[in-house]
Symmetry: C3
Subunit: 340 residues, 3 copies
């Protein structure tokens, strides 16, 4: 059960209500009127909870689970313990996500402006915004309707934020135009100067960074991540892209739509990612690269060359994953032979 | 001498007082009444300072040092310069640490609540707390006795902080329960959503993150590190664990007791570390792994598989360190042969 | 054209004025009176803009560019499109940087102290400083003339900041002495404790960190980077060194003059870099190393040994770059041979 100090709960929902909301199919003879009060992980779910199985690593936990119901792929349904009601879905994690949203809707906005927030008279705030304590909003800023701005956040002159934004505490925004329904977590820094200078032993010469950061709709940006503004072109983050914590996005970078950028990734200046690219945690991309649609970079890999659409790379220098693993095997065999 | 602008000093202490406090043994004919006024590194210590030797790399600096006294392992005592008083200890760095604490006690609390701090009326603060300027403390928060909360820090609704906490400036805490005597450095983010969504080309579907972060006693968390709350299970940090700067801890991760996590490490979701695990700087751990008690991950390594208790791994993919170095040697030899 | 919401513009300038300011030479028959109104990248520059070509990757964009003028190395001048006025320079990017500074001077200081800033009566502020909202400045702090301190920044007791500093919002400074004309971006943390303790299974013993951070003149430090204070010796950053975002500098580290430290680099305790060292993004340096003057560490590399002056290393463990690439080629060939 989620800790009521932190989470409100909706529901309960019947099995058939959950099936309807998620598009899942009730398997076999399960009772559509079964009442479920929460989502929970397999290990701790009780008879009034719905869980899910998405990763074969957890089939044992699934078989042992006391969950009243679970979302599961039809292929794995036979591994369920007796008595568990099954909600069959080709995408069980997505179905679970929708169900979990039903049980745990995000906390409602509490519209109003904290007395200690400082808002420049020339800024325009939309309707029903929640502006927390000590927020600083500069000249000419535009904030859309239904936005939440967390405590101690600083939004510099001219920034535009679309409707429905969720901006955490202690954030800094400057030189950026942000779309609708964007979530920016605590400590994020957007719009500061890119790392642009002409290197010179007698003193590096700074290049004014006169681009912006353009962020599409439905983007998420994780805690303490940094996105520099463009040097002249803009830095661009496409619609629906998910960025995890402590990620660095250099100046002039373009991310396409619905990319997934895991924690501590670094993307160097002017590199362009097409749509649906995934970069695993701590992955690094050199500058001025082109990464094709749907490409995948394994965690901890360092990319020094372009990647074609659909390519999957690993290692440093990153190479096609099949080649990487072949090389790993070859070197391992050689080292072991040396021993004998 | 420590800069008095920043550090108060206690003492002086005699050699015998230091021996008593640290459990070290005075070697040979050294004068137990020798007066020492500060700790200092070997290179800059004068006759009224106590230094230490713990790393063989510094035996030359030791031999040249003008320190009046030094903590040293009995095996290295013979390398001391003439006239240096020696404090023999099997753990000279630990003994030095205790002595340094005596000379440089942490700055005392200045209990009181800054006039600009905003504290929800339903929050409960312990005795003798120091709450700095512009702090924001939400509804239902509980803070133990003798805590310091730095300026501009935001503590969200429901958070619990144990007694004796030292929380730096510009920190953000939410959805977490924190033990006693925990130190949280500036810019740390705890309790924000984990990176949880069902990936989908038509729009990733967010999974509500309804777990918490549970932090044990005597934990330290370095500047700008991020610890996400659990997705359903909790994210857990065990007693006495030390976390350096810019570390990322994903949702559902469990760290055991007294682990050491060096700067810029990333630990992916649901990975479990047993007690006493050490991860070197920039190390990365994939998700859903089990890392055994006392295991060590070399700096800059990327771990993709479980590690047994006591295992020591290096490289990417991380492998037993002996194997890693053997492979490095084999490849080096091959490449050189090619040249000739 | 730079977005006027965010950037003021100076100019226009004639071709000959730009040549004079930058030391570039006007090529051939170009009209010295040509009027230029802005800098712009090759792709988007119009006839009243000046661009530059510095990277051979962009010769096609150069040939297609509609820019009225461009800085270019004499060797590449022949690739220019007809009608483009050329400003020849052996360092075209540096010349462009100077021109861009002319068109886009940094925003002027707006001297004054925000009413919500809290400044200890014992702090000394220079003339013409701009202190933003909710800034907290502690006892004994000294700030030079012409400094800007961004909103919600915390400067702890005793810190000294030289003249002309630009300190962003949401920064935390403690235990540090900072030179003239330093730029510190948003979210930077300077002066917190180093990661110093005597590891011990019965409870790690903290070592008081009684050094400082000393930062030279003309240094830049990128968003959310962290620089720990020394354990006893100081942590030192030399004049003119450029540090990117999310960089970790451990205690007792020394960086020489005009080093370039790219995003997400980590430098472990007590390592010393001489002048002009470059470390690529995500590079990691172990502790207690000596890195010679002008050495270069490739991005994503992990350095475990000293590097001689002028050395160029790559890989993990980092080795001379030539050797790295030879090893990459050898392993690749072996793995491919295995296939056939």
């Amino acid at each position: 059960m989620a800790d009521p100090r932190f989470f409100a709960a909706a529901g309960p929902f019947t099995l058939s209500e959950l099936a309807e909301r998620t598009g899942a199919e009730i398997a076999g003879a399960a009772d559509p009127a079964l009442v479920l009060r929460d989502v929970a992980p397999l290990e701790t779910a009780g008879p009034d909870c719905v869980a899910f199985l998405d990763n074969r690593k957890y089939v044992d936990a699934f078989a042992r689970s006391r969950a009243g119901a679970a979302f599961v792929h039809p292929d794995l349904a036979s591994l369920a313990p007796p008595g568990m009601a099954l909600l069959l879905s080709p995408l069980p994690y997505k179905a679970y996500a929708v169900a979990a949203q039903a049980f745990h809707p995000p906390p409602p906005l509490r519209p109003g402006i904290a007395p200690t927030a400082l808002i420049d008279p020339s800024a325009r705030l939309g309707a029903e915004c929640e502006i927390a304590a000590h927020v600083v909003i500069g000249a000419g800023v535009e904030i859309g309707d239904d936005c939440r701005i967390g405590a101690n956040t600083v939004i510099d002159d001219g920034v535009v934020v679309g409707k429905g934004a969720r901006i955490g505490p202690n954030v800094t925004l400057s030189h950026c135009l942000i779309g609708a329904r964007v979530t920016i977590y605590t400590g994020v820094r957007i719009g500061q100067d890119g790392f642009g200078f002409a290197p010179d032993p007698s003193g590096h010469v700074k290049v004014p960074q006169i681009g912006r950061v353009l962020i599409g709709d439905d983007v998420e940006i994780g805690a303490n991540s940094t996105i520099d503004r463009g040097a002249g072109p803009d830095t661009v983050i496409g619609d629906g892209t998910m960025i995890d914590n402590l990620v660095q996005i250099g100046h002039n970078v373009t991310l396409g739509r619905r990319c997934v950028i895991v924690a501590q990734v670094g993307i160097s200046g002017s590199t362009k990612l097409d749509d649906f690219v995934m970069v695993g945690g701590q992955g690094g991309l050199a500058g001025h690269l082109t990464i094709g649609k749907g490409a995948r970079v394994a965690a901890h890999s360092g990319v020094m060359r372009d990647i074609p659409p659909g390519g999957t790379v690993c290692g440093f220098p990153a190479m096609p994953s099949k080649e990487f693993w072949r090389q790993v095997a070859v070197v391992q065999r050689l080292a072991r032979k040396k021993d004998t």
